[in-house]
């Protein structure tokens, strides 16, 4: 389970403190699929980086499986990310000079897996995402949809229990975005916890629940899909996102 206890994050901007997160308290049980929605600059990405152990909060505690994330050293958090957390980025962030196969191998290299095991696992993951015929293609030789699928395969390389997705469909056409969301749903059904940041309310509706983040505060939470839980409806959220 993930727990945030009165977490605040302030940045200094031209000598003034700007609150990206303000006293957020939240619990995300194992196997949950949460969509974080909110306008640009509302602190969504900051929230995701905090959960990923990449941004130390100004105040409060972030716990993953009972362990206080920021009581660990930077290198210990790297190890935790390597073992338990998978990131999906809006711009995919593939390494441009590596092939699709090698990109998926990167987390496995960092985990110290033998080369033949790396290759087998990377090939299997790319196969699962329908990219068996694109193993030796570099990112610039792939379509954006294919690039995001490579990024998803890379994210799954170390079999993470927690997936943090930052606008995973932001650069994709609706059809490809649907496919990615289907895949995330499949991963959630496998028991993985997913926290997804998006401004697309329609896609947020695919999550079990949606949380609204406005000016660093979680204003309401609830089921994005009727019957799953309580909180703001997609219709309500729509007005917040201006869509």
């Amino acid at each position: 389970m993930i727990a945030l206890e009165s977490v605040s994050k302030h940045f200094q901007h031209r000598g003034k403190a700007v609150a990206a997160l303000a006293g957020v308290t939240l619990e995300i049980p194992k196997g949950d699929f949460v969509a974080i929605i909110g306008p640009s600059g509302s602190g969504k990405s900051t929230f995701l980086h905090l959960l990923g152990g990449m941004l130390t909060p100004t105040e409060g505690k972030v716990r993953i499986g009972g362990e206080s994330l920021y009581d660990l050293s930077s290198d210990e958090r790297s190890v935790l990310r390597k073992k338990k957390i998978g990131f999906v980025f809006q711009t995919f962030n593939l390494v441009p000079y590596l092939t699709a196969l090698e990109n998926v191998q990167v987390p496995l290299v960092l985990a110290g897996l033998a080369e033949d095991q790396q290759k087998r696992r990377a090939e299997a993951l790319l196969g699962r995402l329908g990219l068996s015929d694109r193993l030796d293609h570099k990112p610039r030789e792939l379509s954006v949809g294919q690039q995001q699928r490579v990024a998803l395969a890379r994210m799954l390389a170390n079999d993470p229990a927690l997936i943090l997705a930052d606008e995973p469909t932001g650069n994709l056409d609706p059809e490809t975005a649907e496919g990615i969301m289907d895949f995330l749903g499949e991963l959630n059904r496998e028991g993985r916890t997913i926290v997804m940041v998006t401004h697309d309310l329609r896609l947020a509706g695919r999550a079990k629940r949606a949380l609204r983040l406005v000016n660093g505060a979680m204003q309401a939470n609830g089921p994005a899909r009727p019957g799953v839980g309580e909180g703001a409806s997609v219709a309500e959220n729509k007005s917040l996102c201006g869509n």
Binding site: F87, N93, A111
Partner: protein, 405 residues
């Protein structure tokens, strides 16, 4: 895949950006290697020339003039033979060979020649006090007599080339080429000199000097025949060039204040000047490679870190710790240094082989030692210049790196 695969791919992805730094290291190293190579063979050539000339330091009576280096011992001035003992029992470094000489004019076949008394080496070694504390107790061969053809050759060869011979009997004589030709003497013949009959043991090869008109006999025999007692006209010394440059002549002067000590200054000076110039130029190029090469690499690496901050942030998000990131950049620096060092060695060696004969007038052959030197310097400069940028990369805030782009 391994971390090094990732580093290797990145180098080739951005090879054009790396080219300037690589060329800076390559040229710096190659110039140093070329200079080291040429200097080595230049020193060797000068040393060989010095060796071919024979003695390079002369101890003469105080009033002697030095118009003719080879005839400087024939001026009717004398000093005690005891000076030899002072030299051999001193702690002076760099005395490779000593040859005390006493010369008197002689007539033979109606012509005037010079009879020169020399002391064979075996008599030095027979004197325990000289052997135990003197020059023969020190390591022999200081670099002057490098690769002398005929080092184990017959006595006449060693006399001509090294100014000493191993042994010489009391009634034996060695004749210069001109003297032997004038008197029509061959080895085994006898020749009367100063009223004593000498057996010719060797005819010396032509040298083009006054030595060609000399007869060499045992020092003590000549002293006895001349009736002058234990005196000398000169002591020829083969001194190590590096010791001469460190003040060997001045030290001999201090040891023998009543004698004049001279050297073939122009030859030694040439070498000293060449060595100093090469040494200074090597230092200059070392400074250039450290400053220009190092600055170029540091600049490239800082730019590389800045350009790759999204990639570094992504790797950190995937679980790369600071040590992995540091290692990636230092590995890149190591390879750059290895390539620059090996490339610089090959280029520098080729430059030396081509330019050596034109610049220094000596043939230059490839040497292995500069390879280790070149690689060491190049790697050190590359790794040192990369350390700060690499540390900056390792300390990059992944969240900021991912958000700002």
């Amino acid at each position: 895949m391994k971390i090094r695969t990732l580093v290797w791919r990145e180098i080739f992805e951005r090879k054009n950006q790396l080219a300037t730094s690589f060329v800076a290291i390559l040229l710096g190293v190659s110039v140093i290697v070329a200079m080291k190579n040429i200097t080595f063979y230049s020193e060797k050539a000068v040393a060989y020339q010095l060796d071919a000339l024979g003695a390079n330091v002369l101890v003469l009576p105080k009033s002697a003039s030095l118009q003719d280096y080879y005839g400087a011992d024939m001026q009717n001035e004398e000093f005690p033979e005891e000076y030899v003992a002072r030299l051999t029992t001193s702690d002076l470094q760099g005395l490779d060979n000593l040859s005390p000489k006493f010369s008197v004019p002689v007539e033979a076949g109606g012509r005037r020649f010079i009879l020169t008394g020399i002391l064979p080496k075996n008599e030095f070694q027979a004197k325990a006090v000289w052997q135990g504390a003197g020059i023969f107790a020190r390591p022999a061969g200081c670099g002057v007599a490098v690769e002398v053809p005929g080092a184990t050759a017959p006595a006449k060869e060693t006399l001509v080339r090294k100014r000493v011979i191993q042994s010489l009997g009391t009634n034996e004589v060695m004749l210069g080429a001109d003297m032997a030709a004038a008197l029509k003497l061959t080895e085994g013949a006898t020749v009367p000199l100063l009223g004593r009959s000498f057996t010719v043991t060797a005819i010396l090869p032509q040298t083009g000097t006054v030595d060609d008109s000399r007869a060499f006999a045992h020092l003590h025999t000549v002293q006895q025949l001349a009736g002058k007692g234990a005196v000398l006209n000169a002591i020829e010394i083969v001194g190590c060039c590096n010791q001469i440059s460190k003040g060997l002549v001045q030290k001999i002067n201090q040891l023998l204040p009543d004698a004049k000590v001279a050297t073939i200054t122009q030859i030694v000076d040439t070498q000293i000047k060449t060595n100093r110039m090469m040494g200074r130029l090597s230092l200059l190029f070392l400074s250039i490679i450290v400053l220009v090469g190092g600055a170029s690499i540091a600049n490239y690496m800082f730019a590389n870190v800045f350009e790759r901050r999204r990639e570094i942030g992504t790797l950190m998000a995937l679980g790369a710790g600071s040590r992995v990131v540091l290692r990636m950049f230092l590995l890149k620096a190591l390879w750059l240094g290895l390539a620059g060092g090996v490339g610089g060695y090959v280029l520098g060696t080729a430059m030396a082989a081509i330019l050596g004969p034109r610049m220094a007038g000596v043939p230059v052959l490839p040497m292995l030692t500069p390879l280790f030197w070149a690689v060491g310097v190049a790697v050190l400069v590359c790794v040192a210049a990369t350390y700060l940028p690499a540390r900056r990369a390792a300390r990059l805030d992944p969240s900021a790196a991912l958000q700002e782009i």
